[in-house]
Each structure stands twice: as structure tokens, then as C-alpha cells.
């Protein structure tokens, strides 16, 4: 290749030749990322990261979803571990479609419930419930939400499938407000323009 203007590119010593074959799933699977903006607020779905496992997903989510904005905590769960209900519209509450009967198999453990309360918005963490399986968790949540504002969609996740932020790791977000260079307010230059114009006049 010709010499690049980018010294970094020249150091890559790019070879010519064919692409080597790769194995499928080269980009890994996806994990859903939930962010808590500050202590006391609920966790909200923010997007996904591709990662080989939960620990990596957490590392990636921290920088991709909290390097710019306030953050008090993050959790990640593999997409295929999210149990998703059907979607409803208008005044139709999804819980009115949830059966009160459920399979009895499984050991009892904790499940987390997420609601979509407005079309076009993101899912929010509502709370948790002990249950034997996803369907039971949904059925147990039902009485609390059947009479309120319509819920359009519910995600249910087994708590043990989620990687949460450890309490002692929360200091990771302590330094963020110091990052002035990422802040638009740090780039005021009106005075320079004014002074320039006066010089020209």
C-alpha cells in the first residue's frame, strides 16, 4: 500500500492478499444493557453490547453507555435470557392476556420484571418476584399491575442471569464530572471572534 498520511496506519504494515476465512459468530452474541442514572432511580434499558460472556459485557457496557452521562450502576443480561411477552396497544394491558395458570416445574428463585409503559420508550425495571419459572413470575406480577395504567410489554429475567454492579465497584463512576473536555461548555470562543472582527474593522 502507498504511504498513509496517518503514521498509525503505516505502523500497521498492512499486507496485501485475501481475507482469511473466519468462524461464524465472529462478533459474538448480544447482551441487553440497563443503566441506573443515579442512586434511587430505576434501571432503564439503554441498548446492547456484543460480548463473549457476562463479565466482558459488563466491561463494555460501562464505557459504551456511561462514559458521557451520569451513572450509578449498570447491569447486563444475555439477550436470549430475556423472556418477552406479546405487545399490546392503546388501553389494552398486556397483563389481561396473561394466564393465571402456569407450569409448576423448576426450583424457586428470584425473577426481575421490566415494563414498557409507553410506545417508543425503553423498558424499565419494576421489581422482582420469587417464582419457579418465567411464566409463574409473570402470573405473580399480574395482580399488582392489572388495574393500573396499561403496560404494553413485559420482560422477565431470572435474577441469576443478570450481572449487577458490585457495591464496591461503584467508585468507577466517581470521576466523571472531571472530564471537562467532553463538555460543550468547555469550548466557548465568542471573545476570540469578537476581538478578531474588531481587528479587521
Amino acid at each position: 500500500m502507498n504511504k498513509s498520511l496517518d503514521p498509525r496506519v503505516n505502523r500497521l504494515n498492512i499486507p496485501t492478499g485475501e481475507l482469511t476465512p473466519k468462524v461464524p459468530l465472529d462478533q459474538f452474541g448480544t447482551f441487553e444493557v440497563f443503566v441506573q442514572i443515579k442512586e434511587g432511580k430505576g434501571y432503564r434499558h439503554e441498548g446492547i453490547v456484543h460480548a463473549p460472556n457476562r463479565d466482558m459485557a459488563f466491561l463494555f457496557a460501562k464505557e459504551q453507555f456511561s462514559r458521557r452521562f451520569m451513572c450509578a450502576g449498570i447491569f447486563v443480561v444475555e439477550t436470549r435470557n430475556v423472556f418477552v411477552t406479546a405487545y399490546t396497544e392503546d388501553k389494552d394491558n398486556i397483563y389481561s392476556h396473561i394466564s393465571d395458570t402456569y407450569p409448576e416445574d423448576g426450583e424457586e428463585e428470584q425473577y426481575e420484571i421490566f415494563h414498557l409503559e409507553k410506545r417508543g420508550k425503553q423498558h424499565e425495571h419494576i421489581g422482582s418476584v420469587p417464582a419457579k419459572n418465567h411464566q409463574q413470575a409473570l402470573a405473580l406480577a399480574k395482580p399488582n399491575f392489572i388495574d393500573g395504567d396499561p403496560i404494553y410489554n413485559v420482560w422477565v429475567v431470572k435474577t441469576s442471569d443478570i450481572l449487577f454492579t458490585e457495591e464496591e465497584d461503584k467508585i468507577m463512576w466517581n470521576t466523571l464530572p472531571e472530564k471537562k473536555f467532553r463538555d460543550a461548555s468547555d469550548y466557548r470562543a465568542a471573545d476570540k471572534i469578537k476581538e478578531f472582527k474588531e481587528r479587521q474593522a
Binding site: 500500500m1 502507498n2 498513509s4 498520511l5 496517518d6 503514521p7 498509525r8 496506519v9 500497521l12 498492512i14 499486507p15 481475507l19 482469511t20 473466519k22 468462524v23 461464524p24 459468530l25 465472529d26 462478533q27 459474538f28 452474541g29 448480544t30 441487553e32 434499558h45 439503554e46 441498548g47 446492547i48 453490547v49 456484543h50 463473549p52 460472556n53 466482558m56 459504551q64 462514559r67 458521557r68 452521562f69 439477550t79 436470549r80 430475556v82 418477552v84 405487545y87 410506545r119 417508543g120 425503553q122 423498558h123 472530564k179 473536555f181 467532553r182 463538555d183 460543550a184 468547555d186 469550548y187 466557548r188 470562543a189 476570540k192 471572534i193 476581538e195 478578531f196 472582527k197 479587521q200
Partner: protein, 328 residues
């Protein structure tokens, strides 16, 4: 960073006769009401196809867009510039990540999109096929190419597809500092030494033509995409965006005492529209089809990055995983 209509490919409303008319009517009514379409909603094939193409091109433009500015990442003068440029180029990679995620909800895995990028099958914004010769070129990109992209992104954020709109909202919020940073850099060159001013003027001269190309072919030359407007896939025409950009930024360039290399450039106060020398659309086509100054390098770098990272990814791959499209 992404410009408007990128190619001359015609968009025909073919296949619509095969869609369920009732579902199609409900779909259009939903968009008409201003509601978002979500991944689980019914949508016509053409809508899905066009959105994948558009979001994917947008994502590619971010990841390739990291390269021309990245040219100066190790040479930014002073701490403030060094940190800001690092953060800015990082953001472009981050935006690609967000956009690939949005496109994936429509059913195309990221892996496929990255393959199509390095094989040259899918396109990205043409402007990134031009070289950044000096520090001032990187300042032009940070300020004006980003400004152009923001015109486009703010329009698209009002579009109909939920995951794309949410990604764009996040991107626009993160980008709030890019434009200010870019302007700040240019102001410093403009009001600095003679040498600095010359560097900046030369960069403007080099980048003006690609900048005019950035918003895509003139409306009269591009195939009318009425259906994409109706479905809120495309939110404003190429010429509208170009005009909006000129209206907002030409005065700011002139204010700094720079000239723009187009003797015909000026606003027609009667029509409110900017007039300019017709950009060279033949060059635009040539560059899009691979014959620009940096096409080969950009793809080679991307391909090398993918290849050099392969052992890392392969080492961590759990063999039994199955791909599942993300949810929202």
C-alpha cells in the same frame, strides 16, 4: 457522521402489491399518527430493506469516519486538543456500535454488516474517502462535516423507526461537544498566526467539494423517493439539507475571514435558497464506486483491524452460542 442520500440507486415501490393491504394501511396510519415503528411491529419488506440499508450505511460511515480524523489523533497539539480528539474519534466508534445495534433489530447481524463493509459490498459516506493532509483538515472535519451530519441526524431522529431514533437521540446528545470543539479549533486557527490561517484556508479549499457532495445528489437528479418520505425513512431532501447547512454555516465561515472556493456561492434573498456551482456529480459517482483518493486505504485499514483482532474474538467464542437479534 453521515450525509444524506448516498447513491443514485433508484428506489421503486416494488413488491408492495404482495403486502397485506390491511396491515399496510395500519402501518401507514401508525406513522401518520406520529407513532414509532418497533422491531416487533409488522412492516413492509421494502421498509425493512431500506432501513437496514440506511442505518447500516450510517454505521459504516461512523466507523470509517473515525479514520480521517484519526490521522491526527497522535499529533493533536496540546492537552486540550489531544484529549478532545481522542474522545471524539472514540465517539465515532461508539456511534457505529449504537447504529449497528439499531440495524440488528431489523434482522441483519452485525457480523454480516461488517463483512459487507470490508468486502466493499455496502457503502459509507463518500466524504471519508478524502485525505486529511494537515491538522487543519481534521479541524474542518470536526466542525463542518460534523455539522453536516448533525443536520442529517436531527432530521432522521424524527423518523419512524424507534430503535434508530433512540440511537440518534443518544448520538446527538453525545455529539453536542463535537461541533463546539471543531468550531473552537477553527476559530483558533483563524485568529492565530498567518501560518495557521493559511493552513485552515487550504483545508477549506480542499474539503469544499466533498462537503457539497456530502448531502447527496441534487433532488432533480436523484430518483424521487416519495414513499420513503411518507414512511418517514427519509425526512428531508438532499437539497433541503444542503441548503440548511449552507444557511447555518457559510456565514460562520465568512465571519472568520475565510473564502469559499465557489464564486457563485451566495444566498438568493428572494427565494431564501442558496445558489452555488453545481457540484461535480461525475466525481461523486466515481468516488462512491471505489475510485477516490483513500477508498483503498480506508477499507484496507478496516479489514486489517478485523483480521488482527480475529484471534482475540476466536479465543473467547463460546462454541455453542446461537445468534439472537437484540430486542429494542
Amino acid at each position: 457522521m453521515y450525509g444524506g442520500g448516498n447513491t443514485f440507486e433508484s428506489i421503486k415501490a416494488t413488491g408492495l402489491e404482495n403486502e397485506d393491504p390491511i396491515k399496510l394501511a395500519e402501518f401507514e396510519a401508525r406513522i401518520e399518527r406520529g407513532e414509532k415503528i418497533e422491531p416487533h411491529d409488522w412492516m413492509p419488506q421494502l421498509y425493512r430493506k431500506q432501513l437496514i440499508r440506511m442505518i447500516e450505511q450510517h454505521a459504516h460511515s461512523e466507523i470509517i469516519g473515525a479514520l480521517p480524523e484519526g490521522t491526527w489523533i497522535t499529533r493533536a497539539p496540546g492537552f486540550k486538543r489531544k484529549l478532545a480528539l481522542m474522545a471524539k474519534v472514540q465517539d465515532e466508534v461508539g456511534h457505529a456500535q449504537l447504529l449497528y445495534g439499531a440495524a440488528e433489530t431489523l434482522g441483519k447481524p452485525r457480523e454480516q454488516m461488517l463483512d459487507d463493509l470490508v468486502s466493499g459490498k455496502s457503502k459509507y459516506s463518500n466524504i471519508f474517502n478524502y485525505p486529511a493532509f494537515t491538522w487543519a483538515d481534521s479541524c474542518f472535519i470536526s466542525w463542518l462535516v460534523d455539522a453536516g451530519a448533525i443536520v442529517n441526524q436531527l432530521a432522521n431522529a424524527r423518523g419512524s423507526y424507534g430503535p434508530y431514533c433512540r440511537a440518534l437521540e443518544r448520538i446527538c446528545a453525545e455529539e453536542s461537544f463535537h461541533l463546539k470543539y471543531g468550531h473552537h479549533c477553527v476559530i483558533h486557527l483563524a485568529t492565530g498566526t498567518e501560518k495557521q490561517r493559511e493552513m485552515m484556508q487550504a483545508a477549506i479549499n480542499r474539503w469544499w467539494a466533498p462537503m457539497m457532495h456530502f448531502f447527496g445528489p441534487a433532488d432533480k437528479a436523484s430518483v424521487h423517493s416519495e414513499i420513503l418520505m411518507r414512511w418517514k425513512v427519509k425526512m428531508s431532501s438532499n437539497d433541503e439539507q444542503r441548503n440548511q447547512f449552507l444557511d447555518m454555516y457559510v456565514p460562520k465561515i465568512w465571519e472568520l475571514g475565510f473564502t469559499i472556493p465557489d464564486p457563485k456561492l451566495g444566498k438568493n434573498e428572494a427565494t431564501g435558497k442558496w445558489e452555488y456551482t453545481e457540484p461535480d456529480w461525475e466525481e461523486f459517482k466515481r468516488v462512491i464506486n471505489g475510485d477516490g483518493p483513500c477508498n483503498a486505504e480506508r477499507l484496507a485499514v478496516r479489514r486489517t483491524a478485523e483480521e488482527r483482532g480475529r484471534w482475540v474474538r476466536q479465543a473467547l467464542l463460546a462454541p455453542k452460542t446461537q445468534y439472537v437479534a437484540p430486542l429494542a
